[in-house]
């Protein structure tokens, strides 16, 4: 019997490369979900992984870093927050 493939549908799944049950230290939502202001996970609601080892939704962290009183510190360990280039 000969089979001719006429078309196919490709499906892929993706995950952030962080431990599964890890949550954002600011909004406490799992990283597979979005920050509270976004509707869809993905590049539009990216993660920032800090050199100090603490990760956040980019939007959550920027809201903090942009306040004067944050003085650029990580909310968890209060070291200077610098993110790892992905």
């Amino acid at each position: 019997m000969k089979v001719k493939i006429k078309s196919w549908i490709a499906v892929a799944s993706w995950k952030w490369d962080v431990p599964e049950d890890e949550v954002c230290g600011i909004c406490r939502v799992q990283f597979d979900g979005t920050c509270p202001n976004c509707r869809f996970p993905g590049d539009d609601c990216a993660l920032l992984v800090g050199k100090c080892g603490h990760s956040f939704h980019m939007h959550c962290l920027l809201d903090w870093i942009n306040t004067e009183s944050s003085r650029g510190l990580c909310p968890m360990c209060r070291q200077k927050f610098e993110y790892v280039e992905q």
Partner: protein
Amino acid sequence: MAERILMNEYKELQKEEWVHVELKDDNIFRWEVALIVLNPTSLYYGGYFKAEMRFPKRYPYEPPEFKFSRPLWHPNIYKDGKLCISILHQPGDDEMSGELASERWSPAQRVESVLLSIISLLDDAEVSSPANVDAGVMLRKQPDEYKRKVKENVETSKRDIPAGFKMPEKAETKPPPKEDLDDDFWCESDEESFGEDSDGDMEFG
């Protein structure tokens, strides 16, 4: 964002025995809380300390406000019931206060961590705080008189226990989880440990 986080925190805290939370006017930004001191070695044991919390629209980027409904006689509590505690201060404020940035508010803090800090502040006063200088002096120089005033505060606070509210029993009387029970262990240690609790936790000055 703030509403969603506060709603989650509110639901979580409803499960806790050491705190009683209600919303004021159904407003998620205004809470009526009561701290219930369950630790029998605390000077504040048995108290039901009512307070009001207000949350900014920018929570958790900005800290909540906390105010006891009945001001307590305590070096770190102002006469209006507000507190002098670093966790409620933004890291950028008053650089000269001597508070470490590591003890200040951050968006990783939560209502639970604030309330637990306040409960530990009760027994662990910072005597150099300006909030109530007289109380600070009394704690150092007349610890017995200080304890008497605290006991008064505790008794007065019990008037705020709502009718029908069942005060939780002290933490120690809870039965331990079953799997930890080991008959031999309990038989042997019973006599030896009798009367050995309540060590120096309550010393002042």
